[in-house]
């Protein structure tokens, strides 16, 4: 584990948290189309807590740092978003525990651990019209780019593009999980709010990469 590894992870989390807080209204409006409109509020309250605690978070290593994030988020987010996002960070933390350095392959492992955690906790899978429909194909794309020998910059760009493409692509799906599933077929035609929020967050992280 190097100082650079932790600095990169801190950048990603800080950018994610800032976006979630700044885009509270936009995310809420996305969710109001077929959900109950609380996505923006829930994420903003959770990540607001992350930013408030930022300076006092333990930074022994990446795993410890991410575990603290998991705790901060799930303490404040009500409904199902808290446990889902908290689990994602908790599982990513566990995946980071076993490695010495955070390279591209480790990022794929951490993303897989996070999406597997969301699947298990939310009893959801690909095709259920959730953020998994953006995040899982984007992780596959990242893995392909790494295997093809792409540069870190190319990998980031491809990850962001795939996240956006698949988030927009959730429009054709019918919601099977979460509050939006109560809308059934009426959810077809609008993208999943969680998936679009993830795309916006990823695009911001990649655009601002130091």
């Amino acid at each position: 584990m190097t100082a650079t590894d932790l600095a990169d992870v801190e950048f990603v989390v800080h950018s994610l948290a800032s976006t979630a807080v700044e885009k509270e209204k936009e995310f809420g409006d996305l969710d109001a189309v077929v959900g109950d409109g609380d996505l923006g509020y829930s994420l903003a309250r959770g990540f607001e807590k992350v930013l408030a605690d930022w300076d006092s978070l333990k930074r022994d290593d990446v795993a410890t740092f991410l575990q603290q994030i998991a705790l901060a988020i799930s303490s404040r987010i009500g409904g199902t978003s808290g446990p889902l996002w908290g689990t994602a960070f908790l599982r990513a933390s566990a995946a980071a525990k076993t490695v010495d350095t955070i390279d591209g392959t480790t990022v794929v492992t951490m993303l897989r651990a996070a999406t597997d955690g969301i699947k298990a906790r939310g009893n959801a899978d690909l095709g259920d019209k959730t953020l998994l429909d953006a995040l899982i194909p984007a992780t596959d794309e990242l893995e392909r780019q790494l295997a093809a020998g792409a540069s870190p910059e190319e990998c980031r760009a491809a990850f962001a593009a795939k996240t956006r493409e698949c988030a927009d692509g959730t429009s054709v799906l019918e919601a099977k999980r979460g509050r939006a599933s109560y809308s059934g077929e009426r959810s077809i035609g609008s993208p999943d709010a969680g998936a679009v929020a993830v795309a916006i967050i990823v695009e911001r992280i990649v655009a601002d990469w130091p």
């Binding site: 799930s74 303490s75 908290g86 908790l90 906790r121 009893n123």
Partner: protein, 331 residues
């Protein structure tokens, strides 16, 4: 709405404060986490038994904390799962070298929060397991569940695992007993009126003056069908039969029979229901070995009742007979 309420947001904390003041020798209230725990807990020589749920079901579960029952109860707001950090902090506070068992009725929100708390406290090195209770036969998936709901039958799971823990059983053995009792416990309820959450101030659902909801959930969720009001014996028939057929309970079985009031029904009516249920079981060759009549798991002020049957064997009956010292049984 006419209710004893100050600020609806403070309804749960004020109730918990009153509960602790009324039981200073046995209960401790930790306001930061809505936690009610045994004043002498956690006992480092036994598995800690913790139940989480929404509030509004009292005496479940904050009023059944005490020696021989729960070591702690961790409630959320009315009909809402407790926040994750309440459960996580509760688990840490109740940690014992023999482990912690988190008991949770099967509702989606509670399940997520408690599974995550288990994962997080396990990462901290606490031995903790979770057991989900799902005794309600009326519906499969429902408003707040994937799978069956957990309702009044969870009293039997709590009593059995708590007795086993007091006797010194380890965590795996306690879970074996909990799963066994859950697997032979079946419940179905009926609502005569809707309930009114203090923060909402109006009935949670519409039920006509002459209508009843067969198979209602303890949060007023829809059941099997809406019927016209009918004589009590016919109601007993309609909710007892699905319970008996589900396991099924049959000729020669020995059972525990619970008539649970949902909060707004006089005890006199509960005993009337008990009499009919007891006789109908006897006609089918089913012997009632233990009887429970009163309010256990309520739905605020809802008028109505549920019937629970537990198939007894020597092990379960012996555990149910162990002593328990809890507020609702003290006089």
């Amino acid at each position: 709405m006419k209710k004893f309420v100050n600020d609806p947001q403070q309804f749960v904390p004020e109730m918990l404060e009153g509960l602790a003041l009324a039981n200073p020798d046995t209960l401790k209230y930790v306001p930061e986490y809505n936690l009610i725990m045994r004043a002498d807990g956690p006992d480092q020589n036994k598995v800690s038994i913790v139940q989480g749920s929404g509030s509004g079901h009292e005496p479940a579960h904050v009023m059944i904390v005490g020696k021989g029952m729960l070591d702690a109860a961790c409630p959320g707001d009315v009909f809402a799962a407790p926040p994750f950090d309440y459960v996580y902090e509760t688990t840490k506070l109740m940690a014992s070298p023999k482990g912690v068992l988190l008991l949770v009725n099967n509702y989606t929100g509670d399940k997520m929060v408690f599974e995550m708390a288990q994962e997080m406290s396990s990462a901290d090195g606490i031995e903790v397991k979770t057991l989900f209770i799902n005794d309600d036969v009326s519906v499969e998936d429902s408003t707040y569940t994937i799978g069956r709901r957990g309702v009044a039958g969870n009293f039997f799971v709590i009593k059995a695992v708590a007795a086993a823990a007091e006797r010194g059983a380890d965590l795996d053995e306690v879970i074996r007993i909990g799963e066994k009792v859950n697997s032979v416990t079946r419940t179905m309820g009926v609502a005569l009126t809707a309930c009114t959450p203090p923060a909402k101030g109006s009935p949670l659902f519409e039920l006509g003056a002459d209508e009843i909801e067969m198979g209602v959930g303890i949060h007023g969720e829809p059941g099997r069908r809406r019927a016209k009001m009918m004589p009590a014996n016919e109601i007993v028939e309609e909710i007892l039969s699905p319970v008996v057929k589900d396991l099924p309970f049959s000729d020669g079985d020995r059972v525990a029979l619970m008539i649970n009031g949902l909060g707004g029904t006089p005890i006199s009516e509960l005993y009337l229901l008990y009499g009919q249920a007891h006789k109908r079981l006897a006609e089918q060759g089913i012997t009632v070995g233990r009887s429970y009549v009163g309010e256990y798991c309520t739905s605020l002020d809802m008028a109505g009742a549920s019937i629970t049957l537990v198939k007894l064997d020597e092990e379960i009956e012996s555990l149910l007979m162990d002593p328990a010292e809890i507020p609702i049984r003290t006089f």
